[in-house]
Subunit: 462 residues, 2 copies
């Protein structure tokens, strides 16, 4: 975690932002995460602190909570007291006052007081919508609200203020993200080095995780490590690598402080791409470059997405898979048969940064989202600002079920050659993902060298 004054400064800025939105009083409640049980209460997954709690209080320990009084600007840190059992079982750990000092809170109180204080507050309670059921239950008790009504009672002004603050990364945050990206690059290089025909997907996923954990943090999300790149959310690892096929790795690490990296590589199992693989791979690289070249303050990220989509449509047209006017095809959404997702998302303390705060605020400034297939999956469309960190991750996929469904209804038949598309099904899917920081006049790729060119990718395995 950072110096205590960092958290005090962030809380002070939040108070100002909320005052500017007319919320000059109220009690903001930050419920830290609890342990998350796997198969019984005491067998928990690796602890992951709530990102808002991390941002404003910084302490990555379970069973903490914090409040921020908007009228006074004073923060209270809630933590369990030490017991004799702690001494025997978990060894010395910080006490309540130690925690208070770590986040420069004004006061500290026993954890059990959190619900009591919220219940007794005469000021309105502001909170962001919870995503863990334990938090729903605790807020339900504190607010005397049915559990299924808690999420909707989240505070929109608070969400807007938190998004406005967290989406502009501080220099110390950019350094953390860059450290995460570097560990992520090491994950990818290790997997590429270990890949060969016959190796299991599970073994390569394990290799990626090894590097993430060895870095002192953990994987920032469940890795996609697959020979079937056309299955977009592929979280199983049942297969083995075959000569001549592609392997898609979408995996990242987060640092011990919680900042995420997120990269995707698609490389040939047999070291060199086939001509057809090379053709698709190069279009995907070009699409990423087209998107990234547009990134600068003021440009809506939607435009970067559409630029990448046009590059993909033009590339597929050159291969005879699409035809007609490229601009018209993209405007109609025909390219989304092969590129059904968005170009990217914000990256920070969460791999999809602030996703729990709602895409409408994080990616759309409250504007309605397109309902068109493809664009409806774009997580971020609003204008970029200096200090934002974005992933850029175009892809081309030959999804048998999707192509068959569209072909059957002759959807976009003037733009798609379904007969030709059907001849590419064995290619599967290709995605390339990089992490970019928006700067004062453009954008900068984060992390050390990781050349994704065909020649470089073919050269990484000795």
């Amino acid at each position: 975690m950072f110096e205590p004054s960092v958290y005090e400064g962030r809380r002070r800025a939040l108070v100002s932002l909320l005052a500017g939105r007319g919320a000059g009083s109220g009690l903001v409640a930050f419920t830290g995460n609890r342990e998350s049980p796997m198969n019984y209460a005491d067998n928990a997954y690796r602890f992951r602190q709530d990102s808002c709690f991390l941002y404003y209080f910084g302490i990555a320990e379970p069973d903490l909570a914090g409040t921020l009084d908007l009228a006074t600007g004073r923060a209270t840190l809630y933590a369990n007291e030490l017991t004799m059992d702690d001494l025997v079982w978990t060894g010395p750990r910080p006490c309540v006052d130690d925690y208070k000092a770590l986040c420069a809170a004004y006061s500290a109180a026993p954890r059990t007081r959190y619900v009591v204080d919220l219940s007794a507050s005469k000021e309105p309670i502001l909170f962001v919508p919870p995503y863990r059921a334990e938090t729903v239950l605790e807020l339900s008790r504190a607010l005397d609200l049915a559990p299924d009504r808690v999420a909707a009672a989240g505070s929109v002004p608070l969400i807007q203020a938190v998004v406005a603050q967290r989406e502009l990364k501080e220099a110390r945050e950019v350094a953390q993200i860059e450290e995460a990206v570097d560990t992520t690059i090491a994950m990818h290089r290790a997997v590429i080095a270990a890949a060969q025909p016959g190796v299991t997907e599970a073994r390569l996923m394990a290799e990626a995780y090894r590097v993430a954990y060895a870095g002192g943090g953990m994987p920032s999300f469940p890795a996609i490590a697959t020979t079937k790149g056309s299955v977009l959310h592929n979280h199983g690892y049942p297969g083995s690598l075959s000569a001549g096929g592609l392997f898609l790795l979408d995996a990242g690490a987060e640092t011990a402080a919680g900042y995420a990296g997120d990269l995707t590589s698609t490389f040939p199992v047999s070291r060199t791409y086939t001509d057809r693989q090379k053709a698709i791979y190069q279009i995907v690289l070009d699409a990423g470059a087209a998107g990234a070249s547009l990134m600068k303050p003021g440009t809506p990220f939607r435009e970067a997405h559409l630029a990448a989509a046009r590059t993909i449509a033009a590339g597929l047209k050159s291969l005879g898979i699409m035809h007609g006017d490229v601009d018209e095809a993209v405007a109609a959404g025909a390219h989304a048969c092969f590129f059904p997702h968005g170009l990217g998302h914000q990256l920070g303390l969460d791999v999809h940064d602030m996703e729990n705060l709602g895409e409408v605020w994080v990616g759309y400034d409250g504007e309605p989202k397109s309902t068109m297939f493809g664009l409806k999956s774009l997580r971020m469309a609003k204008p970029l600002k200096a200090g934002m960190v974005m992933t850029v991750e175009p892809g081309i996929y030959f999804i048998e079920g999707l192509i068959a469904a569209w072909k059957a209804e002759k959807r976009h038949a003037s733009f798609i050659d379904y007969a030709e598309a059907g001849r590419w099904l064995d290619l599967g899917g290709v995605r390339n993902e990089e992490d970019w920081l928006v700067t004062a006049d453009g954008a900068r790729r984060l992390g050390g060298a990781f050349d994704k060119s065909v020649a470089a990718m073919e050269g990484y395995r000795a």
Copy 2:
């Protein structure tokens, strides 16, 4: 998972067991686990199915549920229907009827019907106490019961019947556990091979996890990988290995089907134990052997625990750390200053098998547990039966805070030489853990060769 008939057979046996306990009618509700969010709803930890659901329905996918009608013996499997989005994002997956076939259920229904059916049931609903908040919330809705009253409404006859069934491992389960133990041995051998002065705890923990994931399953619990063996529940990895120190690894894998292994090794960072380390290590080995030698059907596991405790007390007496009569010292609980935990626990689909069903049934057959320090941490005391799988894991620890607290109150001063004990603080802690199957006339260690003798441990690193 096993053949569908296995699950049908287990459910039939459960119906019989409950009928024998007077529960001839009722609806047993098995709520499968949902995805467990890390830092937002769609960023989930690796999925872990509920072990009771796994045992009776076998399917390790999220968002499933099952009911078992005790009057008719008929089971219903509840699952979400496939959508067009599944086709694009997750690829083909089994449909509701496929799931029904996999577990040989009598009927299938949409997942949304689960709460409806439980609410509408005229029969009493039997369930085991939930340990995940999402399950508490769902049962709360289904039973129209306040969330904080759900756990206490769990069915004791059901718990007793499930324990009676799950504690006797089928041959196919023993084979699974043995596979998990073999992967676990590979984890330990990999960590021993990678250890050397300067290496971080995080890197060794990562090496253990790599082997667990590469095996197709996952770690069965958060590994303890530490240079400070005296901190019993040490789940952080902040340190580095120092020449002359010990490293304690308590880590296990579970198979893809969910069965756990659980081993502990304590080995010297500098390849060979010092004389003092060797002395303590040998006592711990001897304690495990003493405990295991008593294991056979009919013998209470408490006796194995006490035999190990006497071996530890005798060993510490030979080193001048304890004195007086060994039997009296153990009866008084003096040894627990150095061996404060129990000898072991059941092992199966959970690493502490069935811990969510309550120690009073799993380990004590409803008998009260000792409140004496040390014995109160014994998870299992009741008589062994053929087919039970137990861990055997004695340890000796020099816990500074505990020794200081006891010394200050002169606790057991006739049995403990606190001056001498204080001279061993730098040793930290030693634990050795093995997994044993109770057989018809004794017990058998599970897994392939893993010689823990001093000579073997010193020879594993080239």
